[in-house]
Symmetry: C3
Subunit: 140 residues, 3 copies
């Protein structure tokens, strides 16, 4: 049963890096050979998040970054940083807001997404990280 | 297997329109005749989102709109708009933050929600849209 | 079938109280004896939310509170409050943004989380509340 879920590892640059993981998730789904299901995607760790967006550079590299900077500024003051003497208080706040998981429908064996809708992992941490992403597909 | 999931289409006005889709989802759940399950609701597209709220006009039409205007202002400057010569950069940012999916428990055949808690679709796009919403019910 | 899902009740202080519910969820999962599954956690009510964070006081009691105060200030002006003569407009807005549900993988009978990643309930309401949290575990 340890092998019941799929997973993949992906390298990020950190600092609000937005990664398109649609193909990674699609491969996990194909591997299960389930055709009518729900795929739950979950990133391990408390400074990254999973959601969907139109994956294009203007939005992924600039507009999302600007919005998160407004919500939790990189150089703001965080009690978390004073406690642990680190620099990623804003990373934690942003990840908590967006959340670590996403559920997508699988119909006819295919992930159901819009043409301009991709599954993304946002890495809010302040340094490059190797991220472990779990995918559980439940259904028939 | 193509018919394993349910779906419905709903018309929105765009511009942060908040639609109560609780009954639409409940009909999909009833149609499956499953009684102990999880219903996953997913909106196709990258400028709309699914969550819950107390669906009353003050909150739905004013307070949520004001909060999203603070997070990603309609008339802000977005690289996405410069690239594509459109006007919905703020729509994409807002939808990415809230996310396209929601999972709700089904017990005794009924969706489990609070009395003042409704399932909503928020359409952040800048024009009226017809939205396709998928519902997958997995369980017994 | 009414007993197919698990649930627990938890007391909060309200006012952005962040509760670590990881052990509560883990007990629900253990009780099902399923080993390869997805656990969906859902809080009943429209002024609370579920997500994950690193549960430590600096972040939970200060930094998250400050970020939510920026997004929807406690003493801002809300149409919801004018309509209902109450004081929790900001609570509704915050809960709508974060969302009431979370899905976590179960592998080998264990919830899959990072070492510094805990499941939290944030109670945004303006008074102490007793919260009902549902947990559905679907799988083998």
């Amino acid at each position: 049963m340890g092998a019941c879920s799929r997973e993949f590892q992906i390298e990020s640059q950190g600092n609000n890096d937005v990664l398109n993981i649609t193909e990674n998730v699609a491969r996990c789904v194909a591997d299960t050979e389930l055709t009518c299901a729900v795929a739950t995607v979950f990133v391990i760790g408390s400074t990254a998040a999973i959601t969907t967006t139109e994956y294009e550079p203007g939005l992924a590299d600039h507009d999302l970054r600007a919005a998160f900077e407004g919500i939790a500024p990189e150089h703001g003051r965080y009690r978390h940083e004073e406690t642990w003497h680190d620099d990623n208080g804003h990373s934690h706040v942003r990840a908590t807001l967006v959340g670590p998981s996403l559920s997508i429908l699988v119909v006819g064996g295919d992930l159901q997404l819009g043409t301009w809708q991709q599954i993304i992992l946002i890495d809010f941490d302040t340094r490059p990280r190797s991220r472990r992403v779990l995918v559980q597909v439940i259904g028939d």
